[in-house]
Amino acid sequence: MTTVLILLLLALGAYLVAVIETWTITGRFQLAAPLFAGIALLGRESIVPRKPDRIFFEVAPVLLLISAILAAAVVPLTPDLIITDLATGALFINAALVYVLVALLMAGWGPDGAYAMIGGWRFLGQLIAYAMLIVMPITAVVMRAESLLTTQIVVSQAGVWNIVYQPLGFVLFFIAAMALAFLPPFDLPTAKGELAGGVEAEYTGVRLAVFRLGRLALIITLAAATVIFYLGGWQGPWLPPWAWSAIKILVVTATMLLIGRFMPRIREADLLAWCWIFGIPLALLNIFLVGVLVLVLP
């Protein structure tokens, strides 16, 4: 029952992400637009390009969607509303989301198209940049909670939210999460206007619909992960826990999408250089600071 409810909420969340994304780009709030866009995609012909790697081409959109759903399985929306409270939850989110890379590589290699392939390999470079900035801030969060259980991580923020306790980690994780969801300004693998859609370029019809759904689910899952790691999860005064979860997740999603609206796309080489020269030392510093705080504060 919980599983079905969370999957429905994930679908609803993905839909709202699509609405918010349109709003951040065009300034218009069209509640029905994603529905019509989805119907239009399903109605269109789904073309298979010449000489594809058929297995990769077919599997990629589904794998993207599955990895987002698997990560969502360990995200608690209320103390009880979670599919499975794994003892390795915080690690599992990362394990599931690494398969986003595998999906995009497949989507890049599968269709036998130049733009798609560049987009796919670009995302591999992007992973080299952001991966440590996902793992290291999570390590600091886990250090404070003294547990990998996602529910325990939320409970550990009862006094002070992690955004206050470890603001450096929050900033790094937030940026890395945007890069993982290939949102602008980190939309290097899709790069509309430059790579003609990149990994999406050769997909049409129902396959493109699944791919886009996977991307939307990925965004909402990462926003939810940000909320449970740094913004106190379901905690908050007056309103019931589920309402706090919903509000926080939607606010984080809107912030992620709005930031990208006002930033130019970052060059691949710059992203790698900045992440390794500034990001990783800062993430290590964050681990050190949190370690000191954990030891000093009661």
Binding site: V102, W109, I128
Partner: protein, 174 residues
């Protein structure tokens, strides 16, 4: 046969099958990702054996490592897409005999080594994570730190030899 035995066997066979696919395919990317799914199946075997942390870690680490291996295979092989149907095996007789010898050795180790008393119940997953952490920072710390520093040294050395020295660059570029 319990469900646990069934799944260990199932994922074990899947791991072996994807290992065979690595050499059956002509495409470098398929080969690399087949190896990934072989390793993922090993991770699933860990999960079936109730070693949750190890399983999740295996599934996570291999995805990045095999994907990075894929791009190196594409860069350095002459037929990355496999349309030229390049043979993935070579030195057939040597590799066949080496494969059989190591298989027999692995089976012999599994059968003849005294593994001590069999644990009938595993500690719960959270306790395993705690135990593993204490083990890594206690008795096994020297081994893991040595391995870690060795790998780090190798990575730095590999990067260092891959970079063209600035003097060479200024001489050859205009």
């Amino acid at each position: 046969m319990s469900a646990q035995t069934f799944f260990i066997g199932f994922f074990g066979l899947a791991a072996v099958w994807f290992g065979i696919v690595v050499f059956r395919t002509f495409s470098m990317v398929r080969s690399a990702l087949a190896l990934l799914f072989s390793q993922t199946a090993l991770g699933a075997m860990f999960l079936s054996m109730q070693a949750e942390f190890l399983g999740v870690l295996q599934i996570m680490m291999m995805a990045t490592e095999m994907s990075i291996m894929a791009i190196f295979m594409v860069m350095f092989m002459m037929d990355p897409g496999g349309l030229g149907e390049m043979d993935m095996t070579h030195q057939k007789r040597l590799s066949l005999s080496a494969g059989i010898v190591s298989f027999v050795a692995a089976v012999a180790v599994a059968v003849f080594v005294d593994w001590g008393p069999v644990a009938h119940t595993a500690p719960d997953a959270a306790q395993q994570t705690v135990d593993l952490g204490l083990e890594l920072l206690g008795r096994s710390m020297l081994i893991f730190e040595t391995a870690g520093v060795t790998i780090l040294t190798a990575m730095i050395a590999a990067t260092a030899v891959a970079i063209q020295p600035a003097t060479w660059r200024s001489k050859h570029e205009h």
